[in-house]
Every structure is written in C-alpha cells, then in structure tokens.
C-alpha cells in the first residue's frame, strides 16, 4: 500500500466538506465571509458549489444560525460556521435552549441534522473572546453532540461523521492545530462520535487531552519516557463523553490527569473527574488532577502562553500524581 499523504488539519476539514457536499445535495454551508474565506477551510469552495450552497449572511448570528436551524427542519443538512467559535454566544438561545431540546421536547418526531462549527483557542494572543473555547458551554446541554479533533485524521473523520449524523453536532476546532500536518486518507471515512481513542499506551498514569493540548500531552509523555509511562487518551468527543475508555485505562494505571483548555469550573476535566470518582473510586491510587485555565478570563498579550495549559503545567501535574 502506498503511503497516505499528509494534510494540514484545516485542509482535512475542507476535504470533508467537499466530499460530503459532492455526495449529498442537501448539505450546504452558511456563515459570514465563507465564500471569500477567513480560515482556509472554506476557501475556494464557492467556485465548486456556488452561492446556493456556500451561503454568506450579514453580520447577524441569529439570522445566520437560523438559516441552518430552519433548513434542517426542511430536510437540508446545513453546516453553520461561526468563524471564531465564541460568537456562537450571539445565538445562545436558539442553540442551547431551542435546538438542543427541540427533538426531545417535541416527542422525538423530528431530527435536526446539522453541524455547528467554529475555531477557537489560545495561540493568537488575542485573549478572552477570540480565544475562548466553547466546547464546555455547549456540552453542558444535552441534545447537541460536541467533538474537537486533535489530528488531521480525526478532523476529517469526525467532520464526516458530524455531517452524516442526524443530530446537531458542534465541531469545535482549535486554532493552534490549524496548520498541523498528519496523514489523511483520500477517501471519505468516519471517525465515530462519542468514542475516545487511546492514542498512546502506557502503564503508570492516564493522561486525557484534546485539541492543541493533545500535542502538549505527547510532548510531556515523550519527555517522561523511561521515567513515567504515560497512557494518552484523546476523548475526541466531549459530549457524549466516552467514560468507559477512560475508566478502562484508569483501572490499569490507577492515576489520572485531565488537560482541558477551558476554565476549570464546570469543565470536561471536572466532569471526567466526577464520573471517575463515582464509578471508578476503587481504581484510584491517587488524587485526580485537572490542568485547565485557572478561573480568570484568559488574557491575551504575553500572558496567554503561561495562563493557558502548557507542557510545564501538565508535566508538573503528572509528576505530582505519580510521586
């Protein structure tokens, strides 16, 4: 078999859009300035698919989101792009109060196949609103699946799954992974939603991380190699959360550190810790540590790198728990 070509993560996302839009006429994209393109994931798509399927809206997130929300009821499969993911808050009611609950509260008669996407995360040093990771804000509410890729391979596969899923799926991607290169098969494939992956085997400690923090986790695991054997789990989805894969690992290692680029309060890190101390209490040999943004707004400028989770903080937590 010939070697799989490498693509940057953002191109992997774009390929998922292209292949699914070619396959299925009902898939379309709506957003602001996506025809011209802000991030490379939409650039050039309008030439292939036209303005009927690459739809630019005014600077109006409720109307923009509504294009997707309403069209999904009518049998379309929209992908709605919030550019910077934090802007989703401008449509928080239709997303968190209406979309998430629409199917269930109306007797599970309808499905709303749609993808809600946006980029965020530290790295541009812009701080708070642009960097704000929103996966936990959405994951708080049942009815919307939430995933975040760590590798180009997962980016393409998760996006394809998200588009094909009959439910609303938030696909949140981290700006700090945008240009990361990795192998991406040419054909369309799915990475299942709601399924975590053990990305590196180890025996001393379980380290959970996603997005850019997955890279940091690998860096730390490499550094500790020979000293501490780190098992890395990429949750891939944060809602529904695949707690079983994590529990299985903790059962083996007895130790757990969770990295989550988010405020600590009500984070995925806290949620995992809570579930493990409930169901997996007897497996634990040590306290569970969370490496998150401390509960302060994320500053930009020169502070971003040391306030956001980083390899030093992860290493310290891992060593602390393993001592």
């Amino acid at each position: 078999m010939s070697e799989v070509r490498e693509l940057p993560l953002v191109e992997a996302i774009k390929e998922a859009y292209q292949q699914e839009m070619e396959r299925d006429e009902s898939v379309f994209m709506v957003g602001q300035d996506i025809a011209g393109g802000i991030f490379p994931h939409t650039m050039g798509l309008v030439e292939q698919f036209g303005t009927d399927r690459i739809v630019d809206t005014p600077l109006a997130e409720v109307g923009m989101y509504g294009t997707a929300f309403g069209a999904a009821m009518e049998g379309f499969k929209p992908i709605v792009d919030f550019m910077f993911a934090g802007f989703f808050l401008n449509a928080a009611s239709p997303i968190l109060a209406q979309t998430a609950q629409f199917r269930f509260i109306h007797g599970s008669q309808m499905s709303l196949p749609m993808v809600i996407t946006g980029a965020c995360g530290s790295g541009m040093r812009l701080g708070n609103e642009h960097a704000m990771l929103v996966h936990n804000m959405i994951a708080q509410v049942p009815g919307i699946k939430v995933c975040m890729p760590s590798t180009p391979y997962d980016a393409k596969g998760l996006m394809i799954s998200a588009i094909r899923d009959p439910n609303p799926v938030a696909f949140i991607w981290h700006l700090g992974t945008m240009m990361d290169r990795g192998p991406v098969p040419e054909e369309a494939y799915e990475v299942p939603l709601g399924v975590a992956e053990v990305k590196r085997e180890g025996s001393d400690i379980t380290l959970v991380a996603n997005g850019i923090q997955y890279k940091n986790a690998v860096e730390v695991a490499d550094k500790l190699e020979g000293d501490i054997s780190v098992e890395i789990i990429d949750p891939r989805s944060v809602s529904p959360l695949d707690i079983d894969t994590i529990l299985k690992s903790v059962d083996k290692t007895g130790r757990l550190v969770i990295v989550d680029e988010s405020w600590d309060s009500r984070s995925t890190a806290s949620q995992i810790a809570a579930q493990v101390v409930d169901v997996g209490f007897d497996m634990l040999d040590a306290p569970i540590r969370r490496v998150c943004i401390p509960d302060i707004p994320l500053p930009g400028g020169h502070m971003e790198p040391y306030v956001a989770p980083n390899p030093d903080a992860i290493e310290a937590a891992v060593r602390d728990v393993c001592q």
Binding site: D52, V62, G70, A97, I105
Partner: protein
C-alpha cells in the same frame, strides 16, 4: 381579490371552531384539567384563522402563541385531539406529553414551539431559505406586537429582504405584551413601520375581520410564490382578558379600564363575521346553527380523546432514548 362563497364558509366554520377550542381550553384550565398555563384568545381568533385557512400543504406555519396557536391550527387542520392530549400530559399528546404547552405536527409543517417569545425569528430564515430553494411553498410566521422587540426580528427581516424570501411576517398587534402597552414599547403607531427600514412591503389590516385577513394573506402568499419576497402584514386585534389565566390584567401597574374593554368587545370577530355571512347570504341561520353544533360535537370528541389517553409516565431510559436520533 374577493373571496368566493365557499372560501367564506370555510373561514366562518374555522372561526367558530377556533372560538370553541379557545373556550374549551379556558374551561379546562379553570377546572384544573390543563397542565401549565393558558393565554386566552377570547375575541382575537380571527387573525389566525384568516391567515392560516388557505395555506398550501407545503407551507410552513408558525402559529402565534396566543390561544396557544389554536386559531392557526384550527385553520391548518391540525389534529386537535393530540394537541389537547399534550396540554393534558397524556401519552397521545403530539409531543408525547413532554412539553405541557408546546405543539408539533412536523408532517403538516408546524414544527414546534418554544417558551422564548420571538424564538421563531431565528429558524424562519432557514424556513424561508429552504422554501425559496424548493420554490413551491411559503412561510406564514405569526407573532405578537411584543415579539417585535426582539433583535432576531431585525436579523430575520434583513435576510428575508436581501434574499427575497417567501415569508409572510404576520404580526398580531393587540396593543399589549403582558402588562406593557405597544404605545410605551414601540415609538410608532404601527409595528409594521419597521418594515420600511428594509423596503419591505407592509400592510395594516383589521384583524377582527376574518375575511379581510384571509384576502390579505392570500395576496401576500401569491407575491411570495412569484419570487417577490416577504410581506409584513399587521393585523390590529385586541386582548379582552388577562395575559394568561391567573395573572392580573394590568396596563403598566394599573388595572385595565373595564369600559375600554367593553368597547373592544363590540368588535367581536364572530359577531362581525356572522353579520356579514347572513347579509351576503353566504350562510343561513340554520347553516350557522349546524356549524356551531358541529363545533360543539368536535369539542366533545377532542376532550374525550385527551381524557381517555393514559398519563405519560415513561421511564428515564425511554426518555434517554429520545434525546438523539
């Protein structure tokens, strides 16, 4: 575009039915036989009936929340039994008894409801966008004067005009939003002034005249189907009772003037419509009596259906299975 006699008969019948359904809901909430609340539609059922009776099968309907959408749903021929069963927390409810006060008839393109007033200004853009792509359907989007305070109204009107979407912005202006008056909460006499900002055609009509409403909406629908874009229809109507049963009937912090309310009652849509169908010999008094009797019988059937349906008590596991498709 004058209405034909058959159209007038249909409208009259639906108005009688809607009126009976509203009274049924009132009776039931007084008897403790409804879950949640009820926002009476007394004296204000003509606008919804007129707007929805001649929608096409493919048209998307978003009913106004007053009378919990009954005026519109009577017009669109929704299964009132399942509707009432929902309001009664029953297993045969149109939402499985989960919602208490919502409705959902996706096959008839009445997708659902929300407790957030103005929520529909969001999906309406997509309903309009999809309708334009499909080419053979329009959206009737109804809501009250109060709802037009929402920012979403602006975002919806903006894209509707940019894209010439086949949407009818149908506003029932009853001059009230709970205790607030439209006089205080809107700087212009008509809510439809807002349409001017977008160059959207707007028309103000008598919402108590079920025939006038139907004529206007039929025209707006034609306009939309011809690719000419949205229309703003403002139907002036009234609120005869309190906002919802149990809430005091105030304007600002003062009780509303009983004399003024008495005046409003003079223009009851059913009285107006009856006068006209008799005068124009569309219906005889005998025919009218029959229509009323049929409506009464329909109420009995509907109530029996809801009352006979078992209380919805699914297990947590069953509920969990309904979150995702």
């Amino acid at each position: 575009m004058a209405l034909g006699k058959e159209q007038m008969k249909t409208l009259y019948r639906n108005l009688v039915r809607a009126d009976h359904f509203d009274k049924m809901m009132m009776n039931r909430i007084m008897q403790g036989k409804l879950i949640g609340f009820y926002h009476p539609g007394d004296g204000a059922m003509a606008a919804g009936v007129g707007a929805s009776t001649f929608l096409g099968e493919n048209d998307i309907l978003n009913p106004h929340h007053r009378a919990h959408g009954m005026a519109y749903m009577a017009g669109k021929g929704i299964d009132v039994g399942r509707y009432l069963a929902e309001h009664t927390g029953k297993a045969d409810g149109c939402c499985g008894g989960r919602s208490s006060f919502h409705w959902s008839f996706p096959e008839q393109k009445v997708y659902g409801a929300s407790g957030f007033i103005g929520w529909h200004f969001c999906p309406v853009v997509g309903w309009g966008w999809a309708s334009k792509r499909k080419g053979n359907q329009v959206v009737l989007m109804a809501s009250g004067d109060g709802s037009y305070g929402q920012g979403g109204a602006h975002e919806a009107m903006l894209s509707a005009m940019n894209w010439k979407l086949p949407i009818i912005f149908f506003c029932e202006n009853n001059g009230m939003a709970i205790h607030s008056t439209a006089d205080d909460m809107h700087p212009m006499p008509d809510i439809s002034s807002l349409a001017q900002g977008y160059g959207m055609p707007a028309v103000v009509i008598d919402g108590q005249d079920v025939f006038a409403v139907a004529e206007t909406v039929i025209a707006a629908r034609k306009h939309a189907l011809a690719g000419k874009g949205p229309t703003f229809v403002e139907a002036k109507t009234v609120r005869l009772r309190e906002h919802d049963v149990g809430t005091p009937d105030l304007a600002r912090a003062e009780p509303r003037d009983p004399e003024y309310l008495e005046e409003l009652k003079q223009r009851d849509p059913l009285v107006l419509a009856t006068k006209r169908v008799l005068a124009e010999k569309v219906l005889t008094q005998k025919q009218i009596d029959k229509i009323i009797k049929e409506a009464e019988e329909e109420v009995v059937v509907v109530e029996k259906f809801a009352d006979d349906s078992p209380i919805a008590l699914p297990s947590i596991e069953e509920l969990q299975a309904g979150v995702y498709a």
